[in-house]
Subunit: 438 residues, 2 copies
């Protein structure tokens, strides 16, 4: 933005009181003064013809640059694996042991519990569900596609998850989250009632979009709850396993251990990737699970592919070293990411703190802030922001079928833009929330 | 092998007359003398405790080394695409235009006809068929999985193809090849007769395993033949498109052009990869087809994945340059591969030439020699070779369901072993053919 607009912004910015966020469902009357003021500030920003994008959880260039040494780390003398295989050639369907060794502690499993895929954990999730639909899974009696399949969807959630289960024709059952995590009782009831409920999505740590991390008790609960289906699976998308950016980020208990202790070791389908650790387009994706699940997956993967890119596995091994190396690397990401989340918090607080127009999350890691606005106004907020040059994830994206019946949840992705752009975009967003409340 | 065994081999090697190969179906009596001789030579080789593998079409280390400069060719200053995108980040589901530009002429299509995948064209074929099974394809009225689906399988063929269609539950219809190509009339009859016949496999150039290349007329025939199914597809696995190793290797006509001319542009599903050009485990896979087919595939790919590894695309662009660069690079492969095929020919000819025990192909490119032995003896040949330390692709692998009713076809893969190992292994193979005929 131009310097003059920047000065205007600073002059116009309010310093609201600290607040834990009121209920966005509370009815609210905003004073004429504040909406008039907001309109004036919105008009200034709109006139600046911004072009800002807060839609997707992409790493910023500075984050990607952290991994640039990985680009050239494997040369002609480095193409042999630890066991002497030539990584340039075919083979090793399940991945190199030295790469699995990194993902074991990452996903709370032993290295041998890991199966490595290509560059996208979404693809591993998609393909797992596709195999289940066509062929069924161990413990079941038929392919899931042969009968109506219901799938539990904690809401708000990840739009790309919902797209997969929608396309496969699963009947998605929304289970609204509590403020601080899953509604475990509602999940347990739904899973226990109905044999056609075959599983659920969950992002257990730094949840997308709400940011909470499941407590140890919640992990145990999900591992041990009774399910009507004998072939029930939980897609444990541990996408943000190592993505803490505050020191008080909670630990996530091992889901595979919990499932084993409960006698349900086949319930866990665990996924992770290095997309937001090294390169978003050139990372490694991993699956982890019981021997039965791994054998099942590898049988299907053997029909599907000649094998994953082992050179990229070697690059990751050479660059990250081990899991401690991953944590050291992620500390560098945290330094870049944390100020951006601080900025979102600061600008939201300054503009919406002390009002009852919105509540939002204050994550300790991950990639998103979840913003709840007044019921029925999320679509309007997105329109207003767009009109002022700020692209937000469409309202409804965090719900199955893209429909948020309350029209109140928005997902903010602050990692990619610059700090200045985030401040501007969040200001536009906050003002749009105020204007949409009129 | 030890030098002494080598000398024995040379002393024992016969110089048979040139032959175009007799019919392996002809009944044959081998003289006692020749089998006694063969037994003695087989015993010498067996005592040498060889451990040789002729099972899979893997490039040799020397071939892979040709592409070693590609490992480090993309550094921190090279991560921008031609259009300015950051290849390290998410995005570009269909692949970078500069990488498509290489695959256009490679696959006989325009660059914009190409969709890039991950590192395995088998995976693209598998996934295409999986999408067809679950969702159907343009031109059809229902998902293929909703009714019995039949699939034409030219035989001998590629075992990994057959595995895919077997697992999807397609009824695989074997169409025995003629000596020099497909049995087009039989294919046309099968396709015209039955609406449940949804398509076929074909490796059109340097066929796996027979080595022939489809003539222009054959390409036109396949593009224009009448099919009962309105959603008929030909999986055109152009795996060896650029893999000539003799100067008289034939050209393959453009299948997409032929289909367009015939008004059947949606019939062509074309696939290729750089697995046997750059790195077998770290190449690029490509799909090509009509706008309708591309849109269909990308719609499903959008649900499946965040996008392919663009850094690996950039590596290929920087290393190969353009399609002329591909051809120059493949000329280097040819220098390495040709002597190995020469050796197979020489040793087979020396041992089996002039007998009516076997016939075999003399490819001008690709990765395989197809060997037909006496009906009913292929399994025994593989056993005898294994007992002497030479691993061959299992008999039957070149037929659907792994069952060769004639028990006569074997696939030889001479690219990976050293020249000396190939000579030994082929000698063992030839002697096993003789011994199995007793």
């Amino acid at each position: 933005m131009s310097a003059s607009v920047g000065r205007n912004l600073n002059a116009l910015r309010r310093n609201g009181p600290e607040s834990d966020g009121p209920s966005p469902l509370a009815s609210s009357v905003v004073t004429d003064t504040s909406t008039t003021d907001a309109q004036a500030r919105y008009d200034v920003l709109r006139a600046a013809e911004l072009s800002l994008d807060m839609t997707r959880g992409n790493p910023s260039p500075a984050q990607l640059t952290l991994s640039d040494p990985m680009l050239t780390i494997i040369g002609p003398d480095d193409v042999r694996t630890a066991s002497g295989l030539d990584a340039r050639n075919y083979g090793n369907l399940d991945g190199l042991p030295e790469a699995k060794a990194i993902f074991g502690p990452w996903l709370g499993v032993d290295p041998e519990d890991v199966v490595l895929g290509e560059n996208s954990s979404l693809a591993l999730m998609h393909d797992t569900l596709m195999f289940a639909t066509l062929f069924g899974v161990p413990g079941g009696t038929a392919p899931w596609g042969e009968a109506p399949t219901r799938w539990l969807c904690p809401v708000p959630g990840y739009d790309r998850h919902f797209r997969v289960t929608e396309r496969l024709g699963f009947d998605m059952v929304s289970i609204p989250n509590l403020d601080d995590g899953l509604d475990l009782d509602a999940i347990a009831r739904a899973a226990a009632d109905d044999e056609s409920v075959k599983g659920m999505w969950v992002v257990p740590k730094h949840n997308n979009p709400q940011g909470w991390t499941l407590s140890d008790d919640a992990v145990t609960f999900l591992a041990s709850m009774k399910t009507a289906a004998n072939d029930f699976r939980i897609i444990w998308d541990d996408a943000y396993a190592v993505h803490d950016f505050r020191s008080d980020a909670p630990q996530l208990a091992s889901f595979l251990d919990a499932c084993r202790s409960a006698g349900n070791e086949d319930r866990a389908w665990i996924y992770g990737s290095s997309s937001k650790v090294t390169f978003a387009g050139g990372g490694l994706a991993a699956f982890a699970g019981s021997p039965t699940n791994r054998e099942w997956l590898l049988e299907h993967r053997f029909a599907q592919t000649i094998g994953p890119d082992k050179l990229n596995q070697l690059r990751h091994v050479a660059f990250l070293g081990d899991f401690d190396g991953v944590k050291r690397h992620m500390a560098k990401h945290a330094e870049i990411v944390r100020p951006k989340f601080d900025a979102v918090e600061r600008v939201l607080q300054a503009n919406l703190g002390g009002t009852d127009l919105a509540s939002w999350t204050r994550p300790t890691g991950g990639y998103f802030v979840s913003l709840d606005v007044l019921r029925g106004s999320a679509v309007r907020v997105v329109e207003l922001a767009a009109a002022a040059g700020v692209k937000l994830t469409p309202a409804g994206a965090t719900s199955p079928y893209g429909r948020d019946p309350s029209d109140r949840n928005l997902r903010i992705a602050p990692t990619f833009p610059s700090l200045e752009a985030i401040e501007q975009a969040t200001e536009v967003l906050a003002l749009s929330v105020i204007l949409a409340s009129r």
